[in-house]
């Protein structure tokens, strides 16, 4: 163990999802086992610095003011899908099931952690719905207490009296799974979100 190694370890430990063990493995991989990989990581970090930022409209990753999705005029401009994090957006895009626009909040209301509307990307959403091109808002936030409270807040404080249809994504039984092995919360939301057949 050397002072420089300790410093790198300390920085890595601060990354989300990395405990001491995984930080140690990554540090050793970058420094000793695969020095070429370390070089590539350094280059990539340098290149992205100051060039990748949040899209001013939706909060997605972007190399200019607006991201690729917001600049794409072929997308349905009347529908906005509201998400918690950028990876949620990637998942929906990869699935190719949605052709509208997104809005990434960067979290959810959580008073216990000191996260209120000002800490989230709410002002930009306000601006977007004021442009009056939005006809539907799809709330794709998680269904825990904070997620539901955030949905309620957006509906009341951002949409308000505007004639925008607000919908909530369904939470149900994963495809391929059956009713037998689902827990009661999943079963209830699956029943509440049932469709006519």
């Amino acid at each position: 163990m050397t002072p420089a190694y300790e410093k790198l370890l300390d920085a890595l430990k601060r990354l989300p999802g990395l405990g001491y063990r995984s930080a140690e493995r990554i540090a050793l991989r970058l420094l000793v086992e695969k020095p070429d990989l370390g070089k590539r990581v350094r280059q990539a970090l340098e290149e992205t610095e100051g060039c990748v930022q949040a899209c001013l409209d939706c909060g997605n990753l972007s190399e200019g003011d607006l991201c690729m999705l917001c600049s794409d005029e072929s997308r349905d401009q009347s529908t906005i899908c509201v998400l918690e994090h950028v990876p949620d957006l990637f998942s929906i895009e990869r699935a190719g099931v949605f052709r509208g626009l997104y809005h990434v909040l960067g979290g959810k209301l959580s008073p216990i952690h000191g996260i209120g509307p000002d800490e989230l990307n709410v002002k930009a959403l306000h601006r977007r719905v004021q442009r009056e091109t939005t006809k539907e808002l799809i709330l794709a936030l998680p269904n825990d207490v904070e997620g539901e409270a955030t949905c309620h807040y957006l509906q009341q404080e951002v949409v308000g009296d505007r004639s925008i249809e607000v919908s909530r994504i369904g939470f149900g039984i994963p495809s391929g799974a059956g009713v037998t092995y689902s827990d009661s919360t999943t079963l209830r939301s699956a029943l509440e979100g049932r469709n006519s057949y």
Binding site: L109, P111, I112, P117, V145, E146, H152, Y153, Q156, S184
Partner: protein
């Protein structure tokens, strides 16, 4: 349902114990600090997956050992034998395996191996603060319904959110968002508690007739802090109380202030009942819990009696024994066992974490 065997490794002061239970009644006999309550606690762990004595998993692991293991051999009426392994690890926390399969959702497990603990602290149920009675009701209802536990958690999580907003002077829009969440869960809790206490009150009164005196007309009543009949009832109340709550920096009304009360001869037992009557109330309530869980879970709960028998006068002890004879498997601890009772029990002597039959 009955517990046929229990193996403990590095659990509290027990280095290794392999216990087999043949009969319906088991007694752990020994001086204080020898480990008899530890065994009872470990049995209780199999139904709630948490201790009735501590919230800290670490407290349950033997000194300087990395983990404790508890292996339960249950015999279920319809499902046959089930093997439950609970591992308490200092760094990884708690994990549970049922017949070798890791348990992923606690909700699937609730109500399968119910148990009821009788302890000398039960007197606090009638005499103590509203919080102790609320904790009791929540324990009874959430140990028989995964949905109740889920809604209870949601309610308290939303309540903590609202209280944090009151302290940080959050905006009305945010308050409304968390009040709405509280209100939805509150409707479920209010209905479940109302139905649940009605059912429990009947069972309690029946048992009191045996334990205490029939003519005392025992009554258990649910005292809701606020009347809730619709999904937005609590939200409206909270909205109207914001100014006061902002000053208090706390939520002053709601199901988190619910209580229940006991009456004898129509009078509030908390103020008027004698020491003996308080004891009868506590015992009848625990037996009511046994009956309630038997109805809701569809199996007879294990009865765990921690050092209670010695405190009872001869009449109540006789009545207590009459109450036990109904199919539940019983595990008890005590520092002594009366000669007249010896034949009824399968006796283990507890000494320094070892158990000898």
């Amino acid at each position: 349902m009955r517990l046929g065997s229990l193996n403990l490794v590095d659990y509290r002061n027990v280095q290794l114990a392999r216990l087999e239970f043949g009969g319906p009644r088991v007694f752990f006999l020994g001086a204080n600090g020898q480990g008899k309550t530890n065994v009872l606690e470990s049995i209780g762990l199999s139904s709630a997956l948490r201790s009735f004595r501590t919230m800290e998993t670490r407290d349950l692991i033997r000194w300087e050992r990395p983990r404790a293991e508890l292996l339960f051999g249950f015999e279920e009426e319809e499902l046959g034998n089930a093997e439950i392994l609970i591992t308490l690890d200092r760094s990884r926390g708690k994990s549970v395996a049922v017949d070798g399969d890791k348990l992923l959702r606690f909700g699937d497990y609730i109500g399968r191996f119910p148990s009821v603990v009788f302890s000398s602290e039960d007197l606090r149920l009638s005499r103590g603060s509203p919080g102790e009675r609320r904790k009791f009701l929540d324990l009874v209802f959430s140990s028989s319904s995964a949905e109740y536990l889920e809604e209870l958690r949601r309610y308290y999580r939303a309540l903590r959110g609202r209280n944090a907003l009151l302290r940080s002077e959050g905006g009305d829009g945010e308050l409304a968002a968390f009040e709405n969440e509280m209100s939805l869960a509150a409707l479920f809790l209010a209905r479940s508690r109302k139905d649940g206490v009605t059912a429990l009150a009947k069972l309690f009164a029946n048992r009191y007739q045996v334990i205490g005196r029939a003519e005392e007309d025992p009554v258990l009543r649910y005292l809701a802090d606020v009347e809730i009949n619709a999904a937005d009832d609590l939200a409206r109340l909270l909205h109207d109380g914001r100014q006061r709550d902002r000053q208090l920096k706390n939520t002053s009304k709601g199901p988190h202030r619910d209580d229940c009360a006991f009456f004898l001869h129509g009078r509030d037992a908390r103020k008027f009942a004698s020491e003996g009557q308080q004891r009868s109330i506590a015992l009848a309530l625990r037996f009511g819990q046994v009956d309630f869980l038997r109805e809701r879970c569809g199996t007879s709960p294990l009865i765990l009696i921690d050092d209670v028998l010695g405190e009872l006068d001869p009449e109540r002890r006789a009545n207590f024994h009459a109450c036990l004879g109904d199919g539940s498997q019983v595990f008890a601890t005590g520092t002594q066992l009366l000669d007249e009772d010896v034949d009824e029990w399968e006796v283990y002597q507890a000494k320094e974490g070892h158990f000898l039959k």
